[in-house]
Amino acid sequence: MLALFKKVKTMSDSILKVENVTKIFRYGFLGFKFKAVDDVSITIENKPLIFTIAGESGSGKTTLAKLILRIYRPEQGRILFMGRNIYEIDEDLFHKNVQPIMQDPYASFNPMQKPIRYLKETARNIAGIKDEKEVEEYVAKTLTYVGLNASEIIDKYPHEFSGGELQRLAVARALLPRPKIIIADEPVSMLDASLRINVINLFKKIKDDLGIAFIYITHDLATAYYMSDKIAIMFRGTVIESGESKRVLSKPLHPYTQALLESLPEPDSRKRKQWIEKRIRFSAYIEEEEFIAKGCKYVFRCPYAMDKCKTVVPPYIRVNDTEVRCWLYEAK
């Protein structure tokens, strides 16, 4: 199995490829349908990088993470890991290589169980280390790496840790099987700002030292700018703009990305005047309407909306290495 896997590895130049994936959710008595993820394609190159998926609540970013982690099965499209469909890979092997870090550190550990036990189980069952002494050493080494002291945490239950420590434990747990890629869904949004940056710096260190790629899912564009290499901005289930993080976040093309960046309050009082004077138009739009819109989903709020936008979904248009889904950039 491993031999086969190694062979596959050399064949693929992308670590993860999401191809035209759609996930449909139904709710209500008659099954009102909507697409939480609508025809999304992204490619994550096979090299250590941090790929941010950014969007607001309801943009489908968590659903996309769950699709990648095999928690949901897509209705259409496929997801390739190292060039193979994730549903064709042995489940254990897949989870050894693709590891999650979840949003709420307090909810990711069993409150009745010492986290150290969980870490050791991961080392035994997923990383596949048999010798008990080796397991202990390996866990201790990994804990030191994330900035925790194994001897201090050995007798503690989850409620005895702070949020920052628990999140570092979660990072250590994800590192144990030495995955190729870690999917981190809002990993720092529950932490206080002064601790947040430590976890983010840890991600950068892991990427550089261990060569592990990250998918960082967030609504926080400032941390995305700080840590990530590539970014995809999602809106109502679709990726509307993607490319190099620094470029997308400094020269946004899509009107939605522009609105996001304009409304972001920054901890810099010199930008205050500009921020207050630039007003955002508020219309009482309806979320469901946006989800089921036939054309561009941003049309209800877009200041540049044209007739075409209402009926035809814009294709991916390439502008200086950035892909944007907006009719404004259609080649004349």
């Binding site: 400032a222 976040l249 920054e266 955002i280 009482a284």
Partner: protein
């Protein structure tokens, strides 16, 4: 007009404790003195558990078991001083809350009564406080909501029919209905998206400018403070550690905690490596001796571990509670 007339609320040496058993209590607010001024947006900053929400609950006068409070909170109502902590709850309900002081709670999109139409929320409040008939109250509510920049048919809707952002605006509108002198907003925009956050903050700023009242915004988001507030109070472990006008504070914070809080935040267009704080805030059942921040402070000295610093004036409007700036 003296300076005193500008002060609408003056709290001195306020303590707030949560009693968890006869022998233990959490000192959530510890010897805080603060002034709220007319026509000013003041921000209370700090991370979870620093006592910022408890402080404004006490200032608002909403104190119920297990929270206990002591100290002096003087509310300036057109020259008459009312001590918020000594008057009865009935008195506050009749004369203070909504009229002089109002409060926008955390999670404000979920505080409306789901069985009541939006209009009834408004008309009930008007009838209770202005002692007027239902029809009249409804008419007033209609006028008011149009004035607030919303459509009047919103009054016929039930809360669940509106989006979260709309509901939050309704709650803000309700809090401002009787033109209070002081408005407390507890994390008004925490659960919303950035675009909506800006819309709501703009709404709050516009209304503050119109009513010229004292708006107090409590949030952990330093970005919101930098964009909106005029003066900031930074709290740590139940104490106010620094108070200063917003703009100079962001340029040159004095207290090591404020410095860490501001410098740890990544900004767009800036890739310089940033460092955070290690460790956790102290257990408030049993705070450390000396300065509460010393276990995490990069500049901690011997004296910080032994003696409590005093909250003293650094410059005109600038106060800081740190041994680095105290003459010994």
């Amino acid at each position: 007009m003296s300076v005193e007339d500008n002060v609408v609320l003056k709290a001195s040496n306020v303590y707030g404790e949560y009693i968890i058993s006869p022998s233990t209590s959490i000192k959530a607010v510890n010897n805080v003195s603060i002034e709220l001024r007319k026509n000013e947006i003041i921000g209370i900053a700090g991370e979870s558990g620093c006592g910022k929400s408890t402080l404004i609950k006490i200032l608002y006068g909403y104190i119920s078991y297990p929270l206990t409070a002591k100290g002096k909170i003087l509310l300036n109502n057109k020259g008459n001083n009312i001590d918020v902590l000594s008057v009865s709850e009935d008195y506050k309900r009749e004369n203070i809350w909504w009229r002089i002081v109002s409060y926008i709670p955390q999670n404000s999109m979920n505080v409306l009564n789901p069985f009541m139409r939006i209009g009834d929320h408004f008309s009930e409040l008007l009838r209770k406080h202005l002692k007027i008939e239902k029809d009249e109250a409804y008419k007033m509510a209609e006028e008011y909501i149009v004035n607030m920049g919303m459509r009047k048919d919103i009054l016929k809707a039930f809360p669940h029919q509106l989006s979260g952002g709309m509901r939050q605006r309704i709650v803000v509108a309700l809090a401002l209905l009787l033109k209070p002198h002081i408005v407390f907003a507890d994390e008004p925009t925490t659960a919303v998206d950035v675009v909506l956050q800006k819309v709501l903050l703009q709404f709050l700023i516009d209304k503050q400018r119109e009513l010229r009242n004292a708006l107090t915004i409590v949030t952990h988001d330093m970005g919101v403070h930098a964009m909106v507030t005029q003066r900031i109070v930074v709290m740590y472990a139940g104490r106010v550690v620094e108070e200063a006008p917003t703009e100079p504070l962001f340029e040159d914070p004095k207290h090591p905690y404020t410095q860490a809080l501001i410098s740890s935040l990544p900004r767009l267009g800036d890739e310089s490596p940033r460092k955070g704080l290690w460790g956790t805030p102290p257990d408030l059942r049993n705070p450390p001796p000396g300065c509460e921040f010393h276990p995490r402070c990069p500049y901690a000295m011997d004296i910080c571990r032994r003696e409590e610093p005093v909250f003293t004036k650094y410059e005109n409007e600038w106060k800081v509670r740190c041994w680095l700036y105290l003459k010994r």
